[in-house]
Symmetry: C2
Subunit: 353 residues, 2 copies
Amino acid sequence: MIENPFYSPEFHGDYDLVGIGRLDLEEGGSIPDCQLAVATFGELNEARDNAILVTTWYSGTHQIFRDVYIGPDHALNPDRYFIVCVNQIGSGLSTSPHNADGPNADIAMSNFPQVRIGDDVVAQERLLREHFGIEKLQLVVGGSMGAQQTYEWAVRFPGKVLRAAPIAGTAQNTPHDFLFTKALNEAITSDPGFAEGEYKSNADVVAGLRRHAGIWAVMGFSTEFWKQEGWRALEFESKEAFMEGFLEPYFTAMDPNDLLCLAWKWQRGDVARHTGGDLAAALGRITAKTFVIPIDEDMFFPVRDCRAEQELVPDSELRITEDILGHLGLFGVAPTFMAQIDRHLGELLATEV
Amino acid sequence: MIENPFYSPEFHGDYDLVGIGRLDLEEGGSIPDCQLAVATFGELNEARDNAILVTTWYSGTHQIFRDVYIGPDHALNPDRYFIVCVNQIGSGLSTSPHNADGPNADIAMSNFPQVRIGDDVVAQERLLREHFGIEKLQLVVGGSMGAQQTYEWAVRFPGKVLRAAPIAGTAQNTPHDFLFTKALNEAITSDPGFAEGEYKSNADVVAGLRRHAGIWAVMGFSTEFWKQEGWRALEFESKEAFMEGFLEPYFTAMDPNDLLCLAWKWQRGDVARHTGGDLAAALGRITAKTFVIPIDEDMFFPVRDCRAEQELVPDSELRITEDILGHLGLFGVAPTFMAQIDRHLGELLATEV
């Protein structure tokens, strides 16, 4: 375990750490004392049937949802719903390589086991059932790796998911995404300071984390974001200032092993694991009313890939969201982004199921 | 200077080294004895008016043109035209960081000066005029960085270029391309074996060159190439085998400083340097009949960027070429690629000018 002040309420706001006990993992091994960092918004009603689960993405936490997606003016309205945002295993807030200690001391840092999207979903289901007494979800929604978890929920627990909204992500990770993530990983692991995962501080790996941010710059935004100098909306003077003032510090604050844990999961997200590799069969199991919501300028979860999956989900619609930020439109920076997401989620929540 | 057997006729076939003397550079400094590696196909006619200039791309040489683009069955027909293929400065065959010796010994390796696209074009014009007595070109054609040189020719020497065909490239490099190339560069320079450009052998930098290949895998092909397993057409069994058997050895054979020299040029290609930053004014100078030929699935020279420039070239057409290989469709691997290129170039060469 190492200290990293970034992963604290000071930076992420309030959340609760809820222990769900020992979590046995799909790839073998286990997390002896799995702690999930959970932020909730609104009140669970007496029938316990007004819950929404929000899943998180690579490098993201509940914080972005709290600040951008959730509120009385949004479809994710805490006046109406009990919104549970669960940070991923490896997110740095839930049990993660950098914070494993106490009963988890044996799986700290480079000894952390391989975790799959399905492990997170099993952990989340246990949390909702045992801790909150929630058996049905009005909606599961998440972006990017959060979309992977959303699909996994809808395929694994069809009886529990009334509606699903995977945003900017896929049910089966693509080979291109695998290679993109591999390049991200290699930017980190090639830093001599990484020391095979046994660095003393994330600051030892700052050069690798900065290169990792540089690859995100290429794939995370669209070509048009850079051409139109979209960073000006964030009050930067140049793309270099935007990199140095925003994207690099965003990632260099994070823990390398945590990011690698997430990346390993991302690379292998695949609901067809439930059906012997048959993606159509897996997606055919989904009973949730599903809105598949790609971002039109996404460089690595392109509309084409999202549409191909949507067409395999029985009760589904494709809702393309426009944003020149591309994948990182998920940050909700463009003033037009959340209006589209709210319209899609609002309409989805309004459908009878 | 270091020995690298990759940069030899054994790997690239015959070419001539032609000295054009001292080349003073736009950024200051000079190449004392600039040698251009030139391959020609066909015969120059008596009027010296049947010449075509072919320019080369990042990591590419005349070899790919000889093997794929040029021949009696192609628009670039040596039975009809005298085709001059000039390898870029920094290509490893022409004067380059790794091969600088003799009069160029002072600019070897990390001491190599910064070279611009305009320097290459000035060198090529001198070569054609002084060595071959060529004053007019029926066509200038090249892909990627070759497109940058093509545009530079058409803007800088409008009286000499009757037709121009920039393929999969732009006249003014985009900020997104700059960042992509930066990520490529950093993959190389972050390798401790790079030793600030003073490695003893490219083998010292093999890890960095391999990571550089990994980033090319993400951006060089399209998402659909990987999804459709386009590598099967090249008789590989898996994407990993394709990387290990094709893309990694392709780049690890090369010289790091040479690639960095090319990348520096690529990042700064911009014909608007001739017009105080006014791209429309620069492209408005072009008198050549111009076919702008983007590849539909290109991830970093997208059709949108190529179209925006084409619309600024007076006598021009946009000719979109379809290829799921994306940018690296330029290798001509897809059986449908060259048919399209030949049609476009054939029609261009058939136009009266």
